[in-house]
């Protein structure tokens, strides 16, 4: 069996709520290959963000294993973990909350370049300009405060920050949900383009099956912290087997596509 980029096996996380605990994630197993998009879909509260936060080591699992780029990802701690973080990045749903309210666009992009010693100080402004151009933004934006640019621009900055360290996997937690439809299409095109040129894999979290169907290669559907089913995105969405899959498809008013692009 060929090695996957990311292999998740039996991941579990319980949260305390009052006196009892809730299983936000239970026996989660999936894999992602290089340059592949796996969508994680499911109703609200089904544990999608929990899985994302577990993968990014923002919270620690109760059980399970994660192998990323051939390494035991959960065994990494401290400085080695911080170094390895370069390879797995994340884009958050709310681009306003995801940035320090005092930061400028340039500072946001400078951080990863500085921390991972990607470019010496003198060269960083040029790199920052390059990143801005790569995500389709004007280099004039560098000096602006993050809260002064539009939501769509801000999400592009978030993507620029995520690709600054040349990651092999980016977790997109509802990264386009807060954007209006036309902006969303453009951002998805950018993401698809980055995947083609740089071979980046995505864990694409969304509750919008219409989007998932056109953007993802495969889909895993979560329900109450458990995987209900997973498989080829179109196959699963066109003929869901699980109850939650059927309900989600039924709840999607019209399976719409985003302008032109297809993941296949």
């Amino acid at each position: 069996m060929a090695e996957h980029l990311l292999t998740v096996d039996g991941l579990a996380k319980r949260f305390r709520r009052g006196d009892s605990t809730v299983a936000a994630a239970e026996a989660i197993s999936f894999h992602i290959d290089a340059a592949e998009t796996l969508a994680l879909a499911g109703p609200s509260g089904s544990g999608k963000s929990t899985v994302a936060r577990l993968l990014l080591r923002l919270i620690e699992p109760d059980a399970g294993s994660v192998t990323f780029e051939g390494e035991n990802w959960l065994a990494l701690e401290g400085a080695p973990l911080r170094t390895h973080r370069a390879k797995m990045q994340m884009v958050f749903q709310d681009p306003l909350a995801a940035f320090n309210p005092r930061a400028t666009v340039a500072r946001v992009l400078d951080d990863p370049l500085r921390i991972h010693r990607i470019a010496p100080r003198a060269e960083r402004p040029r790199r920052i300009a390059g990143l801005l151009e790569r995500v389709g933004l004007s280099t004039d934006l560098a000096g602006r405060a993050v809260h002064e640019v539009s939501g769509g621009q801000r999400q592009r900055v978030a993507i620029a920050r995520a690709i600054a360290t040349k990651p092999s996997l980016i977790v997109l937690d509802e990264a386009v949900s807060a954007l209006d439809v036309s902006v969303r299409g453009k951002i998805l095109e950018l993401l698809a383009d980055l995947q083609r040129t740089d071979g980046i894999a995505y864990l694409f979290i969304s509750h919008d099956l219409g989007l998932v169907r056109v953007f993802a290669h495969r889909v895993a559907i979560l329900d109450g912290g458990r995987l209900a089913e997973q498989g080829d995105a179109r196959a699963v969405i066109d003929a869901p087997q699980s109850a939650v899959g059927k309900a989600l498809v039924a709840a999607t008013p019209k399976l719409h596509g985003f302008t032109g692009q297809d993941a296949s």
Partner: protein, 274 residues
């Protein structure tokens, strides 16, 4: 912003007092050059008698107005330095406690409790009596108790800020926890901490005056508290010697307080508008 800040009459009065005080402090060496503690005329000249000595002289013949001006320097320096030190120490300790959580938080907060339960003035008194009176020791003595308020507020603020996405974002980028704490979290936790500054400055000025009154101020500097104590020995014959610096203290503390309230209020208005 400035216009709105000066809109309330209280804030206006407070600011006027502070401006006057700062002018006095800055102008003291120009208007009254030389040592304000030297003999300037006959002893116990009452105010408004001799126009070269407008506020008269004290028991030893020292110029009261000159002392008042130079005393403003001491009060302001001590007030500002003690507040700056308390805010800095409090913000750092509060941030560390709130951000680290767990045992470190527990230990730091017990330490804060310990310092908070001892009355600030007693702590300052003990510290100065042990280390010896000098301006920097007085500043440290005051900061020793005043940092606990800023520490608590900073911690509470950090506890909510550290759950926000941008902190998670900083971790994902691989930032060192100390850098996250002090560069990402602390600056965002500062506004409510800074709102304490006026109270701390006012308290510091009063504690300094009280220490000086007890003879524990810097002996080489004129202080209003020292002047009140000096005047006490001739309280019946020359009450103005205690009353003048006493009024200066009250007006200063009032000014600091009013200006501080005005600043906090206008910040709140600004926040509400945005």
């Amino acid at each position: 912003m400035r216009g709105r800040f000066l809109q309330t009459p209280e804030a206006m009065a407070g600011t006027a007092i502070l401006v006057l005080l700062a002018t006095m402090a800055l102008a003291a060496p120009l208007i009254f050059p030389g040592d304000p503690l030297r003999i300037a005329g006959p002893a116990l000249v009452p105010p408004f008698q001799d126009w070269t000595l407008p506020l008269g002289t004290d028991r030893l013949g020292r110029d009261v107005l000159a002392e008042l001006f130079h005393g403003a320097r001491t009060s302001l320096v001590v007030g500002l330095a003690a507040a700056a030190a308390s805010l800095a120490v409090g913000a750092v300790i509060g941030t560390l406690a709130g951000f680290a959580g767990g045992l470190a938080d527990e230990a730091l907060m017990r330490l804060t409790d310990a310092f908070q339960t001892v009355p600030g003035f007693l702590l300052a008194l003990a510290f100065v009596s042990i280390v010896g009176p000098s301006l920097s020791v007085v500043v440290m003595a005051i900061a020793l108790s005043a940092w606990t308020g800023p520490a608590r507020i900073a911690r509470a603020e950090v506890l909510s800020i550290r759950e926000r996405d941008f902190v998670a974002g900083a971790r994902v980028v691989g930032m060192h926890p100390l850098e996250i704490a002090f560069r990402e979290v602390l600056p965002n936790a500062l506004p409510p901490v800074l709102a304490l500054s006026s109270i701390i400055v006012a308290q510091a000025i009063l504690i300094e005056a009280a220490l000086s009154f007890l003879g524990l101020g810097d002996p080489n500097r004129v202080t209003w508290g020292g002047m009140v104590a000096e005047g006490r020995t001739v309280l019946r014959t020359a009450p103005f010697l205690s009353i003048v610096p006493g009024i200066a203290l009250v007006v200063t503390v009032l000014g600091v307080y009013l200006a501080g309230e005005g600043a906090v209020e206008s910040a709140a208005v600004k926040k509400g508008l945005s």
